[in-house]
Symmetry: C2
């Protein structure tokens, strides 16, 4: 078993806690994409659920433990998907949730967080400022701070996707994983290294938000001054050391892709696969587009991790003119 | 058990024959739709699979039986989804497939049928002419004619969706089912009447292709001279008597919806749920839009049965101007 904070037996046990509506998501070969990508492509689809992203796999664990311990409230910083998922999971367990987000976050995500009954606090700054503010609220109110990727439950939840990949009948050569804070990459990566070590674990991040990839390449935390990407779900600047350590143990590669490739990936998933995806969910296809030679003739699976987009922005990205 | 050609035990057994990639599809509450629709709405999503429609549940059964009996070939008429599904199922079992379709069928569907290795024959006419031509080929070549809705396997395959609805923890008040030839409606309807008789079974057809609905209302086969609808998947003119008999035994209602409502339904599913759907798959939402009072406060499930659209037509339908 790879040396990370995760444990495959605990991840298997997590499946019993997570609402089944988030488990056993579609996994299918999508041949209509293959002419454009030059390799066999399977989709792991994490968007057909009540929050349209994989994040509830983790928040189901977090809130279950909170409820069991008698807690009444929690706070998190979120680009939008974690907040939605935490709000959904908390509502069913009678927990009060505060979500701190950037004022510039995707409006559709903020709207759904409010609709799910969470208190939403906006900060004039980016995701890192939201993290600071959430930590301050937790300290002040004496409530649980849910920290994406640092809290092992968020990684274990994401890791259940890895179990579903490893337990499937399909034999993949590589799995392409969106890299942001690292919960998805370390979770899925841990399981693949444990149960299907022959599968290459490839993390994909935007060139405009490269902090974790640079950190992985240098083997130490590298921060950046700013981010510049439409992939809001992965736009962090300050990698968490413990998460980087896990990533170093499980990732075979981490690649950076251009914004134009992310947009091209979104358009391809729409036109060929009929899938609406948010930018972070197109990172895998973007990586395939940027390095066809590397993947030629291989079978890759890409995790389509979310579909929460603002209608107008999405229309601009995938429309005839693109961005 | 309702008096139809179907048998719930046989439908349960069918699950063991159908490739799991087509089974246990997402079923989830979609609250983001509910403000617009005024009722609780769950989605049963049949698009996240290799053929982007529910039809392979039936063709898996058909081709399995054909292969077991030593057959080498089959022919069907199709608006596109059955043909794609039959081609997919046949390819894995070494069967040759001919699909007969209208020259005016959705181009994306025809392209996928060819890509899956089937022989495609186009007729200058509508789906009913394609049915006649397919029957002639079957007779001439001495091969199996696969007739959607008439062949009980196509209904049994569709009926496995009903099992998944009935076996779920959710309690629905009504299920909305696209009505065309009748396989989906009679299949799902049979299971609901057998296992969840309190659930209202409501079939939805376009006003521009009303033959089966009129037949159900009058209790006898009523044909029409032409169809005029964008919902190509349900645009039949000549209901099959045996299928009508089954529909009379299981449907609580059959309603007709306007083209504008179908378009509004497609747009709502895109904007609120992030789902690309073909017109037939928006019929349920169209019915909700047309009769909010009927469904107010109830919990309905709508089967999103397919997502094969031509890119340009879809863009016109859901674009700012609509149709």
């Amino acid at each position: 078993m790879p040396q990370t904070r995760l444990d495959t037996a605990r991840i298997r046990a997590a499946r019993r806690v997570i609402d089944p509506v988030f488990l056993d998501t579609p996994l299918y070969r999508c041949e209509a994409l293959e002419a454009d990508l030059g390799c066999a492509v399977s989709i792991k689809l994490e968007t057909a659920n009540p929050v349209r992203s994989f994040k509830a796999r983790g928040t189901e664990l977090v809130t279950s433990l909170l409820a069991d311990s008698g807690s009444r409230a929690a706070v998190c910083a979120s680009a939008g998907n974690l907040g939605q998922a935490l709000a959904w999971s908390a509502r069913g367990r009678g927990l009060d949730v505060t979500v701190v987000a950037s004022r510039h976050a995707t409006a559709a995500k903020l709207e759904r967080i409010r609709a799910l009954g969470a208190r939403l606090e906006l900060v004039d700054g980016d995701h890192e400022l939201a993290r600071e503010r959430a930590a301050a609220i937790a300290l002040h109110d004496g409530i649980r701070l849910v920290e994406d990727s640092l809290d092992v439950e968020t990684c274990e939840g994401a890791a259940t996707i890895g179990l579903e990949l490893a337990d499937s009948q399909a034999s993949f050569d590589a799995v392409l994983i969106a890299l942001g804070g690292g919960a998805l990459a370390t979770g899925v990566g841990h399981v693949m290294k444990d149960l299907a070590p022959g599968v290459e674990v490839i993390c994909v991040q935007p060139l405009g938000a490269p902090a974790m990839t640079r950190s992985w390449r240098q083997g130490r935390v590298v921060t950046t001054e700013f981010t510049d990407t439409i992939a809001d779900g992965v736009a962090g600047r300050r990698p968490i050391p413990a998460v980087l350590d896990d990533l170093l143990a499980v990732a075979d590669d981490a690649v950076l892709v251009r914004e134009a490739s992310i947009v091209a990936g979104m358009r391809l998933l729409l036109d060929r696969a009929g899938l609406v995806v948010e930018p972070s969910a197109a990172l895998g296809v973007a990586a395939l587009l940027e390095d066809r030679a590397r993947f030629a003739g291989r079978h890759v699976v890409t995790i389509v991790c979310g579909s929460n987009v603002d209608k107008d922005a999405y229309g601009r990205w995938v429309g005839p003119d693109g961005r």
